[in-house]
Amino acid sequence: MSPFTFFPLAALIIASALGVILNLHPIRSALCLAVTLFLMAVMFVFLDAHLVAALQIIVYAGAILVLFLFVIMLLNLEADVPHKRRRNVTLVATASGLGFAAITLHALFSSEGSLPGPGFSVAAPAEFGTATAIGELLFTRFVLPFEITSVLLLVTVLGAVVLAKKKLR
C-alpha cells in the first residue's frame, strides 16, 4: 500500500480505537468499534487477505457488534461518570501503556528490514488469500484445530443459554 493510503487509514483506525475507550457512553463506544473493525477490514484487503476481510465484516461487524449493541440497548445503560478514586489507576495505566508502546516501537524500528520472508515488494500469487486456498489449508493441515473449534462453538451455545436463563442456580 502506498504511504498516501496507509497513513490516513492508520490514523483513522487509531482515532476510532481511541474513541472506543474514551467515549463515556457505551453506545458511542460500540459505534466507534464498528468504524475500527470496518477500517481494519480495509487494511486486510490491502494485505491481500480477501477472505479474512470478508469474514471480519461478517463476523465482527455483523455478528459480534450487533450482539454488543443489542445487550447495551437491552440493559438500557447510562453514560459512565468518571470516578475520582480511579484517577490514580488511570494515570498509572496510561503511563505504563505509553511506556510499553515506546519500548516495543523502539525495538521494532531499530530492527527495520530484518523481518523474514520475501516481503511486500514481491507480488502475491493470484490465489493468495482466496476462499479456495484457505479452505484447502483448513481441511488439510489445520483439520484438528478446525474440529476442536466446532466443539468450542457447541460449548459456547450451551454455556450462553444456561447463563442467560432466567433462574441462575
Binding site: F6, A17, V20, S29, M43, V52, L67, F109, L163, A164
Partner: protein
Amino acid sequence: MVPATYYIALSLILFVIGAVGFLIRRNLIVMFMSIELMLNAANLAFVTFARQQLGMDGQVIVFFVMTVAAAEVAVGLAIIIALFRHRETLNADEVRILRW
C-alpha cells in the same frame, strides 16, 4: 510501498489502546470491547506476517481467532446479562465477591 514494520507498529498501537482501555474503564461492556480491540490487533499482526512470508497459515489462524472471539463474546455477554439481572450494575468495581 509501506514496509511490514509499519503494519506491525499499527497493530502494536492498537493493542496498547485496547490494554489501556481495559484498565481505565470500569464498564464491563466497554472492557469487553477493549478485549475485541486487542484480538483485532493480533489479527492484523498475523495477516501482516502472512503477507510478508507469502504463506497463508497466518490467515487460517486469524480464522480461529475470530471463532474464539465470537464464542467469548457470546458467553461474556450472557454473563453480563445474568450479572445485571442480579446486581443491577455493570461496574467492575462493585462486583467483588470473588476478589480478595
